[in-house]
């Protein structure tokens, strides 16, 4: 017998929702029959604001587009500007950028650990990983002067050179984190509660994944080795040695495992970068920012963020302000069309669990 259909609103004020968004569910009993994502609670009109700011001023606001991981935005913005303008970036800056991006990836995954386990009721995990994430934020603070918003990667290179003693501190942090990952495994991946919650939930169809626009860990969780760092290499990723983990399955569990392996890859990447980093300039100075103009043209650049491919479409009309900067975050697809489909047939209790596994981040959907 069919149960009575009810409408449930989850969010925007709901502790299980990642960020500030709302999912409107049609449920029969505990089973979801229809899901609809509502966004716009965090819309700030970045793209409009950038039309009013000059090329340098816009750089400071792009990092706010995605709060948990601001660096891919800075990277994208800078690289798009450099591509249109034809500005060279010194080799050292490229290495520093890669290091920043990888540190940001680790930090994001540590935050994800907290969110994913928290939505399964395992609160200790979050206490550990989010607490340990602070050590990476400390590194960022030493490097860039800011904990969350770094505003560090800018057109032409990076803002400041590595501070004294940074390499040693970063390596120490990496060693510490690598040791901690074993603890996390015991607490989360070997935990039967997590395994039972995660396996077989929120399955993405491998054959449809690319067509649906799935990117990042969810796509690799379907067994497809796709990573912008390999497919369309930027900065110095083609000179570094790393693997792209992928696992068949497509459920929350494989997505979690992919992230678990990637964290180790990132730690290795940071070590490699610190080891191979050449000396020299770290910044190709831009002219007086008030009068800095970029020749007309457009560019589409992509960066692999912790949640997947982050794209920027930028158009310049030859003036001192961007004509158009259009941001495409991974959550744009994950949080709306993919989530709406994945939730159908699932249990209401798994909504935030699945959302966390997709890494939906509303600020990058609506910007």
């Amino acid at each position: 017998m069919r149960e009575k259909s009810t409408t449930l609103y989850i969010g925007p004020q709901h502790p299980g929702i990642t960020g500030n968004m709302m999912v409107k569910l049609q449920v029969e009993g505990d089973t979801i029959v229809k899901a609809e994502t509502h966004v716009g609670y965090l819309h700030r009109g970045f793209e409009k604001l950038m039309e009013r700011r000059n090329w340098l001023q816009s750089f400071t606001i792009v990092c706010r587009i995605c709060v948990p991981e601001p660096d891919p935005n800075e990277e994208n913005y800078s690289r798009a500007v450099e591509e249109i303008e034809g500005r060279e970036v010194p080799e050292r800056a490229k290495y520093i950028r890669v290091m920043t991006l990888e540190l940001a990836r680790i930090a994001t995954y540590l935050l994800w650990y907290g969110g994913q386990s928290g939505s399964a009721g395992l609160l200790t995990m979050g206490q550990w990983s989010v607490g340990d994430r602070n050590y990476i934020l400390d590194l960022f603070e030493d490097l860039t002067g800011g904990r969350v918003y770094h505003m560090y990667i800018w057109p032409g290179g990076v803002r400041r050179d590595l501070p004294e003693g940074f390499k040693e501190k970063a390596l120490r942090t990496m060693d510490y984190l690598e040791k901690r990952l074993d603890d996390y495994d015991k607490l989360l991946f070997e935990n039967s509660i997590f395994q039972k919650r995660a396996k077989g939930v929120g399955i993405i169809d491998k054959n449809k994944a690319i067509e649906w626009g799935v990117v990042g860990p969810p796509l690799r969780g379907c067994g497809i080795q796709s990573d912008v760092r390999k497919d369309d290499p930027y900065e110095v990723y083609d000179k570094l040695d790393f693997e792209v983990p992928a696992m068949e399955g497509g459920d929350v569990w494989t997505r979690a495992l992919v992230r678990r392996f990637e964290i180790r890859q990132s730690i290795n990447l940071v070590r490699q970068v610190l080891d191979k980093m050449p000396g020299g300039e770290y910044y190709n100075k831009i002219p007086n920012p008030h009068k800095w103009t970029i020749p007309a043209g457009d560019a589409f650049v992509k960066t692999e963020s912790a949640r997947g491919e982050f794209g920027y479409y930028m158009v310049s009309d030859g003036g001192n302000k961007p004509r158009r900067v259009h941001v495409k975050g991974p959550a744009y697809v994950h949080g709306i069309t993919l989530l709406e489909n994945l939730l159908v047939g699932e249990n209401v209790a798994d909504v935030s669990f699945i959302m966390n596994s997709l890494g939906t981040c509303p600020p990058e959907i609506e910007r």
Binding site: R52, S58, D142, R159, P163, K186, N191, S192, K291
Partner: protein, 596 residues
């Protein structure tokens, strides 16, 4: 999966091993807050280093920075007297303001805790609100390397020194378009320079016009209050560049060269007229006489003509330009350049009577009575003498006289071993001209090279051309042969002793350092004074003259109401741009007096 999963049950329990460990919790507020050496916290501003250029305010996309007057800070030339105040309800700690601060006075500190129940408290004046501890906790700052301001001037292309001395061809080649755009793009448009320009030219505006690629607008803006821009573009003393915000850490914007670039877009007077497109008012029937076609006289003539006055300039010599024609050598300011500007003025209705000396060819009193107003830009014609023995010998002469003859197209025999005495631009000019005439030239100056009032570019140029500079040398006597011709110069060396009143150090002769060098001529260049013999004696009582200059009020009005004066004979700064400013001011006053 089995219902009872032992490993999955026990593994998490191993987490308990953390139990005995020391927590990594930071016990704030029991322990002091921590911030890294680069942390971007609240602002701090070194009030004494800050020049109030407002660059921080313009780069801030949040409009978080206001420039306000604060107690205890006075404005002066090169310092607006305003200081930044940050609205922390807007600031996003991006520190772009720090990166673009041209002086490096603004930085961010390690202090970041600012909690208050009243949201109106968040206006923060850096350097005032954290006066006590701000300086000790500076964290994010920018130095010359990291700063986003561009401190390096685009170098000016010049003829090589050995090439220059072969002719009177212009030594400085001028910026080409690309160089000019680049140089103009360095400007941060603070506008502090306008105050130190005697003529208050609209410097940021025309530089921005050049930066945006609109040279014609630049010329139009320049002509708004300077009718001799090409001359200024080549030889101005450029006080503006002394106070440029960029000088605090690097080279000033090449304001003079940019002006020169803008004026060169118009190749002749006709094109200038088309670009500037002057608006000439209907004739108002008032008659103005101007004595002297120097910079001040020409300026007054030009703007009076624009305002509809009937203007006649009386010039004693055959060419217009005054000292800029007769005093400045042609390799710095070619005659054609001046002619172009003067003919443009004539094209809008300025009449110039050449070879008409007031006091000789035309009576001053008559002129005064027949005009509605008279402007005098008579300048300093009479050179000062050195005041040492032997000055009346043949071969001892004055720089202005020498330059006058050469610039007028004449020749003067000075021999092949020349000593120029003095350290100003005139001395350098005379030396470089003599060098071009093939002489071996030595400049003798009482003080050190760094004390020379001449432009550093001129000094360097002279050295490049092979002019010797003997600093700290005091001429004592010019010695002649029996024919009354100069053969030797007796001089002594000097040492610098500090001035007890705090002025610049004074030279003092070193006992026993006297020496003699062989010379063929000695050129004195230590200054000039005015020659006011054209004024009839009965009027001299009414026109007050003090220390060789006419006494004028702010409107350049002398003690005789319808008589105005400007230029060297009325101001102390004695340069072309001040003369232009005087002329411009007098025009406004004359208009006010006669029309409004």
């Amino acid at each position: 999966m089995a219902f009872f999963d032992l490993k999955g049950l026990l593994s998490p329990i191993t987490g308990l091993k953390q139990f005995g460990k020391k927590p990594h919790t930071i016990m704030f507020p029991d322990v002091a807050e921590h911030a890294s050496d680069r942390y971007r916290g609240l602002h701090f501003n070194k009030l004494d280093d800050c020049i109030g250029c407002g660059n921080c305010s313009t780069i801030c996309m949040n409009e978080a920075i206001d420039m306000i007057e604060i107690e205890g800070v006075e404005g002066k030339k090169g310092d607006s007297g305003l200081r930044p105040r940050v609205d922390n309800g807007r600031c996003c700690w991006c520190a772009l303001c720090v990166e673009v601060c041209p002086t490096g006075s603004l930085s961010l500190t390690k202090d970041y805790i600012f909690v208050t129940p009243d949201a109106d408290d968040f206006l923060w004046t850096p350097g005032v609100d954290n006066k006590e501890n701000g300086e000790q906790i500076i964290s994010f700052h920018s130095d010359k390397e990291t700063s986003l301001s561009d401190y390096n001037r685009i170098p000016m292309r010049e003829l090589d020194g050995s090439e220059r001395i072969k002719s009177f061809a212009e030594a400085v080649l001028g910026y080409n378009e690309e160089e000019a755009r680049k140089e103009a793009a360095r400007c941060i448009s603070c506008g502090l320079c306008t105050e130190s320009c005697p003529d208050h030219m609209h410097i940021p505006e025309y530089i921005n016009a050049i930066a945006r690629g609109n040279d014609e607008d630049a010329l139009r803006i320049i002509y708004d209050n300077n009718p001799l821009p090409e001359m200024c573009g080549k030889v101005c003393t450029r006080r503006c560049e002394d106070v440029c915000a960029m000088t605090h850490r690097g080279d000033a914007i090449a304001i003079r060269w940019l002006k020169r670039y803008a004026t060169e877009t118009a190749e002749n007077a006709e094109i200038t007229r088309q670009i500037v497109n002057p608006e000439i008012k209907e004739a108002n029937g008032k008659k103005i006489s101007i004595i002297g076609a120097g910079p001040s006289g020409l300026t007054a003539g030009y703007y009076l003509a624009l305002r509809g006055f009937d203007v006649t300039i009386y010039e004693a010599k055959a060419n217009a330009g005054g000292m800029t024609f007769y005093g400045i050598p042609k390799y710095r300011l070619p005659a054609e350049s001046l002619e172009k500007q003067v003919s443009y003025m004539q094209s809008i209705g300025v009449k110039i009577n050449f070879n008409t000396r007031v006091g000789k060819d035309i009576d001053f009193k008559e002129l005064y009575n027949n005009s509605d107003a008279v402007f005098m830009g008579v300048g300093f014609e009479k050179p000062w003498t050195l005041g040492i023995t032997g000055e009346d010998l043949e071969g001892s002469l004055q720089a202005v006289t020498y330059l006058d003859v050469i610039n007028g197209g004449g020749e003067m025999e000075i021999g092949n071993k020349v000593v120029v005495i003095g350290g100003g631009n005139v001395a350098i000019d005379a030396a470089r001209v003599a060098r071009r005439k093939g002489a071996d030239v030595t400049i003798v100056y009482r003080r050190r090279v760094e004390d020379m009032p001449a432009d550093w570019e001129e000094i360097e140029g002279a050295e490049d051309e092979g002019v010797h500079i003997m600093p700290q040398g005091i001429p004592l006597e010019i010695i002649g042969d029996k024919n009354g011709k100069v053969i030797k110069l007796k001089f002594a060396r000097s040492e610098m002793i500090p001035d007890p009143d705090g002025g610049r150090p004074r030279p003092k002769q070193i006992e026993g350092s006297e020496d003699i060098m062989e010379v063929t001529s000695v050129i004195g260049a230590i200054g000039q004074e005015g020659d006011y013999s054209f004024i009839p004696d009965d009027m001299k009582d009414q026109i007050k003259i003090e220390r060789g200059r006419f006494v004028v009020n702010e409107d350049k009005q002398t003690t005789l109401p319808r008589l105005f004066a400007g230029g060297d004979s009325a101001n102390r700064t004695a340069d072309a741009i001040s003369a232009i400013a005087d002329g411009f001011r007098a025009v406004k006053a004359i208009e006010k007096m006669l029309i409004k």
